[in-house]
């Protein structure tokens, strides 16, 4: 088997004595979707923020393509082609879609000024693929619907040739039709060889979209299972009781 795309080894992080993540190890292979499950406060978002650079881990190691990776801030993460779609979407509401898509990575003209026209043109291209109905290119994103905002956040993550994609509850605010589109997008990105971490509450969705599921409880890893080996009830039991199903426990 090829080397894992991401290996998070023995990651720990504490906030004022509370061990939010306690010696957790997870890995991710190219073309694979790994679901992260757990209650609110189980530590899944915190774990993944160590990978996206939003938090700095206290202990443990992250390897990308088998090599040690130093990720101290979001800029570092971007250098390793790690892109994140945050649950909050992390959009600047007062700016338009293009400004958000290129935030921190603006295209510039020969004079060094931001090249709004080129950025808008690129934004129109990628939005044409992701959300063909999208027309509000000059409105601040605060004027967009939940689905439109989500598509801007997704466009930002996939535009820059991401190798590793982190999606934190990408469908939480979406209707059924939009959820279906996200599911299709995940399948397409998977075929392109991206590795995807999918944080989700919904065990059915994890079962449908993911290859493996890592379940966390109280900051600790309950276990990592192949979704084909378990039922949704097994997954629920892992989340609630914090124990691996018996037929896999051995």
């Amino acid at each position: 088997m090829a080397a894992p795309l991401v290996e998070m080894r023995d990651i720990s992080i504490a906030f004022g004595g509370v061990k939010a993540v306690d010696h957790v190890s997870v890995d991710l292979f190219p073309g694979e979707v790994v679901g992260l499950l757990g209650h609110n406060g189980a530590g899944k978002s915190t774990l993944i923020k160590c990978l996206s650079g939003a938090y700095r881990k206290d202990a443990g190691e992250i390897l990308i393509n088998g090599e040690h990776a130093e990720i101290n801030n979001p800029r570092d993460a971007r250098r390793y082609h790690i892109e994140t779609i945050y649950q909050t979407l992390a959009l600047a509401d007062n700016l338009d879609a293009a400004a958000n898509l290129f935030l921190g990575r603006e295209l510039t003209t020969a004079l060094g000024t931001v090249d709004d026209a080129s950025m808008e043109a690129e934004t129109r291209k990628i939005m044409g693929r992701l959300n063909p109905n999208f027309q509000k290119f000059h409105a601040p994103v605060s004027a967009l619907s939940g689905g439109q905002r989500q598509s801007v956040a997704i466009a930002r993550a996939v535009y820059f040739n991401a190798k590793i994609l982190i999606m934190d509850e990408p469908t939480a605010a979406l209707g059924p039709q939009e959820t279906q589109m996200v599911a299709e997008l995940i399948q397409e990105l998977k075929r392109q060889g991206l590795g995807i971490f999918l944080i989700d509450h919904d065990v059915h969705q994890v079962k449908a979209l993911c290859d493996r599921a890592a379940v966390m409880k109280n900051g600790q890893l309950v276990g990592v299972v192949k979704v084909d080996d378990v039922s949704t009830d097994d997954l629920l039991a892992m989340i609630i009781a914090g124990k691996k199903p018996e037929h896999l426990a051995a």
Partner: protein, 431 residues
């Protein structure tokens, strides 16, 4: 990811304003300004809208307007700067001391040396920038709230200025330096017209280039007649402003004095106009530079992104701490620039220079549509805000409104302006 509400690419019918793509907020502010001017013009029997008063109004506005452009960036990033008036005083004190004392005693320069004013200005600008950067470091890196840092700064820098000058009034300042003050430094008629023509040409070229870029990317553009109309309005505005300033003739006795100073007499039928004051030219330069920073640079983009959502900015890899330092350093630089204009206008440095300017500057930015909740604000708005405030103030003085009522009205207008802005935004939001 589909929309149920698809807006068609070309709506069938659009209003004149939306075809012209004119900013309705800008239009509203200009409307308010014109209204203020007209009302005072009636109340003063036509004395308000004379070339002389408009000339005075513009030079009185410059100092606050320059700082207000910087305050836009500060407020957009959800900070505040209460120390600008005090910082202006410290910079003014440093520049006055440099040109009348320190440079003379330390470097042996003579009074009247042509390098003096420039060295003094350079010293003041450096001091202002460093002090601003220090404020920004306290706020960005040590995470002390801007309100507290600059409230402390309000006391500190007011009294550093006092200490540096022993509380004395320092003057007269160098004549070249005084040229930045307004009436004692103007371009004269010919150069004002030349400036107007150049500015008009630059504006038209800018509009033309923007249109060409849009066409190059196949973006929708407004009809050619609308573009031409906008260009026409801009050019008319620029040339009208120059014409107004050029209509202010230098009074005969001032001419006589100037000629007498050179041992000459005023030729028969000679007249001259002041034209564009250098301080106003400076403000125009600042306005253009700050507008370009706001809309065309990464720095400006990050300022607005941080104001709109600090967490998103941070997660996008923006170093928001360093950004804060830069913003306050820029604010400090602009305070120093305003100090040049303010002290040059007085022709001396006095201990109370810039007192209460922090409130005028914040009010100008807020009246100009800068939202204290962050993320929203424009440079032109802040300048118009400063102009409206100054018009109210001097208009009431001309009408003879009692001093307490003047401040009551200005305070009232500030609150009402923000209320109108809130209502306007809610309407837009509902739209």
């Amino acid at each position: 990811m589909s929309d149920q509400t698809v807006s068609p690419a070309n709506p069938p019918r659009r209003s004149l304003l939306s075809t012209l793509e004119v900013d309705t907020r800008l239009l509203g502010m200009i409307g308010a300004f014109v209204l203020v001017c007209l009302v005072f013009n009636v109340l003063t029997d036509g004395r308000f809208l004379t070339p002389r008063n408009i000339f005075n109004l513009t030079i009185q506005t410059v100092s606050v307007a320059i700082m207000a452009t910087g305050m836009v960036f500060v407020i957009v990033t959800r900070h505040i700067d209460l120390s600008v008036g005090s910082l202006l005083a410290t910079c003014s004190a440093i520049m006055a001391m440099l040109q009348t004392n320190w440079l003379l005693s330390t470097f042996g320069l003579e009074l009247g040396n042509p390098a003096l004013p420039w060295l003094a200005i350079a010293g003041g600008l450096i001091a202002g920038t460093l002090i601003g950067a220090f404020n920004g470091w306290l706020i960005g890196y040590l995470t002390i709230p801007a309100f507290i840092v600059t409230l402390g700064g309000l006391l500190v820098w007011r009294n550093v200025g006092w200490y540096l000058t022993n509380g004395q009034t320092i003057g007269p300042l160098d004549e070249t330096f005084q040229a930045f003050g307004g009436i004692s430094g103007t371009l004269g008629e010919t150069w004002s017209w030349i400036f107007g023509v150049i500015a008009s040409v630059v504006a038209v070229i800018g509009l033309y280039n923007a249109r060409r870029t849009k066409i190059g990317h196949d973006f929708p553009v407004k009809p050619a007649w609308a573009e031409t109309a906008v260009a026409g309005i801009v050019v008319a505005g620029i040339m009208g402003f120059i014409w107004m300033l050029n209509s202010y003739q230098i009074p005969e006795r001032v001419l006589a004095r100037d000629f007498a100073a050179q041992g000459l007499e005023v030729p028969e039928g000679y007249s001259a106009a002041y034209g564009l004051p250098i301080s106003v030219l400076l403000l125009i330069g600042v306005a253009v530079a700050m507008t370009i920073i706001a809309s065309k640079t990464r720095f400006g983009r990050y300022i607005f992104a941080t104001g709109g959502n600090p967490d998103a900015a941070e997660l996008s890899g923006i170093n928001t701490r360093l950004l804060t330092v830069k913003i306050f350093a820029l604010m400090g630089f602009l305070c120093a620039l305003s100090a040049v204009v303010a002290s040059a206008r007085l022709s001396f440095h006095s201990n109370d220079i810039g007192i209460l300017d922090e409130l005028r500057v914040i009010a100008a930015a807020v009246i100009g549509g800068t939202a204290l909740s962050g993320g929203i604000g424009t440079i032109y708005g802040a300048i118009l805000g400063a102009l409206i405030m100054q018009s109210l103030q001097s208009g009431m003085a001309m009408v003879g409104v009692d001093a307490p009522f003047q401040n009551i009205v200005v305070g009232f207008v500030l609150v009402v302006a923000v209320l109108i802005d809130i209502i306007y935004r809610k309407k837009l939001g509902a739209h």
